[in-house]
């Protein structure tokens, strides 16, 4: 259960916490300025992290009624 709580915080830290350090235009990645790419990347990572949380969360192993 513990690790799920930590995973919840990861997207917040990755996007908001790291923002002061990634607020730059170069290098361009996938044609986007770096700060925009960083956020787009984290949107995809957030999705992945939520997927991992879902797998780890014992509540989701039970049936639909819970």
């Amino acid at each position: 259960m513990k690790i799920i709580y930590i995973l919840t915080l990861v997207p917040f830290i990755g996007i908001l916490g790291f923002l002061p350090f990634v607020n730059r235009i170069e290098p361009y990645v996938l044609g986007m300025p770096f700060n925009m790419f960083w956020m787009a990347m984290w949107v995809v990572l957030t999705s992945a992290i939520l997927g991992i949380m879902y797998k780890l969360d014992p509540r989701n192993r039970e049936g639909d009624q819970e």
């Binding site: 919840t8 996007i15 908001l16 607020n23 235009i25 956020m39 999705s47 879902y54 509540r59 989701n60």
Partner: protein, 492 residues
């Protein structure tokens, strides 16, 4: 009338006819419609919520901010994404409690948790006040679409009136049933058009994304970065946090939560939903392309950038298609909002004061309120010069005031009582209203603070004071509550 307007009109008629068809033969009552019998699975809840979250704001306002403000526009992408992380924990809890207690509205939730009908009325009123700016955004969107697609033949204010009238007719005819199919068509069209514009325009004009951004950066140095002050990094962080807290506080979104079959639905949807927000990147690409191609739109005019650029680029018939899709993105959420406000006022405010009235009377009153609310929204649309983004942020600052007492109510031993909750919410609201009317920022209120603190979103102050007042008043009235309402001891 030109071809673009004719196509937009065809979309309007299609939406109205779908609305009529969906309401025919189905005589659902208020309850059934709002929570859909609590039988919706993951896909349906996803569509329902996406339909309420992606409005004409994502279409026009998102590109408008990219055009006018640059990098700070990214907040739209991030707050929605991070809200889904919160939803993983928050929504199953809300759903579970609502199911156990057979709740229908957000206001019921507060009444039940705090054993306080007054708090329920207050929550409903907060919902009403917060939703008005969002309705204004939809009207602005309709106005922009119609006046731009008329190539200047129809003035903006005439277009706003036409938008308001169509919206009212749409709500009155399709009634509270709405049309799920219009919502589905709207989402598909919006994704297709935004995807097309976001890919085609930068490539057509600049040969690709990187050349486009490089050209913008050369023309406006620093525009693609968060500035040192104003809409800075600290503004971004505080705004995103505020918006994440407010995301699920909207009464109509809250009701959509009740419609799910199980709590698991939300955890499942949380995985896929962030990817859907990537669509907003394409909206931003359009706004950034417009900077060099249709320069000179100042202030609230920035919201016109997507349509202006499209008009420069495409034939009138295609402007009609874009305008038609835009019309649906304003009409569908606009009608839901208008109906929500009318229902909240009739059911959760009026009926509380006059419990004896029949349900039919309440429905009739709600219908009567629709044009009244539309008129109020028209007034604000024509008299306010804000961008869509500024309006959305204001609505969020207001609705977020419900978050602290809601969050605490989910705890097993809630230290907050109804007095604390009410005092906190009212204080928060007053602060937001005062700050908005005097157009202050933390910088103007406290000039000696460091720059990072000056740029904090003002809604955050209101939220912090709300929180402190809530705790203090709850502690002060603790004994009072126990003595007066022995029944509620279990809940405190």
């Amino acid at each position: 009338m030109n071809i673009a307007l004719l196509i937009i009109l065809a979309f309007l008629l299609l939406a109205i006819s779908l609305g009529i068809r969906s309401s025919k033969g189905k005589d659902m009552d208020l309850e059934q419609w709002t929570v859909g019998g609590r039988g919706f699975g993951a896909i349906f809840v996803f569509l329902l919520m996406a339909g309420e979250i992606y409005t004409t704001f994502s279409f026009l306002g998102g590109s408008g901010w990219a055009y006018g403000k640059g990098a700070p526009a990214l907040y739209v992408l991030i707050y929605i994404t991070l809200s889904y992380v919160l939803s993983y924990w928050l929504l199953p809890e809300i759903w579970k409690y609502a199911k156990e207690n057979k709740l229908m509205s957000q206001s019921d939730f507060f009444v039940s948790k705090y054993k306080s009908p007054s708090l329920g009325i207050l929550a409903a009123l907060v919902g009403v006040v917060s939703m008005i700016p969002v309705i204004v955004v939809q009207l602005k969107g309709l106005g922009i679409i119609v006046s731009e697609a008329s190539y200047g033949a129809i003035s903006m204010s005439a277009a706003v009136w036409m938008g308001a009238i169509s919206l009212t007719i749409y709500v009155m005819i399709s009634g509270i049933h709405g049309s799920v199919w219009t919502a589905v068509i709207k989402d598909i069209m919006m994704i297709a058009i935004i995807g097309f514009l976001g890919i085609y325009l930068p490539i057509h004009y600049f040969g690709g994304y990187q050349p486009m951004f490089e050209a913008v950066n050369a023309a406006k140095p620093g525009f693609l970065k968060f500035p040192e002050q104003g809409l800075s990094v600290s503004w971004f962080i505080s705004t995103v946090i505020l918006l994440v807290f407010g995301f699920y506080m909207w009464p109509q979104v809250f009701s959509a939560v009740y419609s799910a079959r199980s709590g698991k639905v939300f955890r499942k949807n949380a995985i896929i939903s962030p990817l859907y927000t990537l669509m907003l990147l394409f909206v931003f690409f359009v706004g950034f392309t417009a900077i060099l191609k249709v320069p000179g739109l100042i202030g609230a005019e920035a919201d016109l950038s997507l349509l202006r650029l499209s008009i420069e680029t495409f034939d009138p018939w295609f402007i009609g298609i874009i305008g038609g899709a835009g019309l649906l993105t304003a009409l569908v959420p606009g009608s839901m909002l208008l109906m929500s406000v009318a229902t909240l006022l009739a059911k959760n405010v009026y009926k509380e004061f006059a419990p004896a009235v029949s349900d039919r009377h309440v429905v009739r009153l709600a219908k009567f309120l629709v044009p009244v609310i539309a008129l109020i929204a028209v007034y604000f649309t024509l008299n306010g010069g804000e961008t869509m983004s500024a309006l959305i942020l204001m609505g969020y600052s207001l609705i977020t005031q419900l978050f602290p007492s809601l969050l605490f109510s989910l705890k097993k031993n809630n230290p907050i009582n109804q007095y604390g909750a009410i005092a906190g919410i009212i204080t928060g609201l007053l602060i937001v209203i005062c700050i908005t009317l005097s157009s202050s920022t933390i910088g103007t209120l406290f000039p000696s603070l460091p720059q990072a603190a000056k740029d904090l979103n003002v809604g955050i102050i209101a939220l912090a004071v709300n929180f402190l007042v809530m705790i203090t008043v709850s502690l002060a009235f603790r004994k009072h509550t126990v003595k007066l309402e022995p029944k509620s001891v279990n809940d405190i």
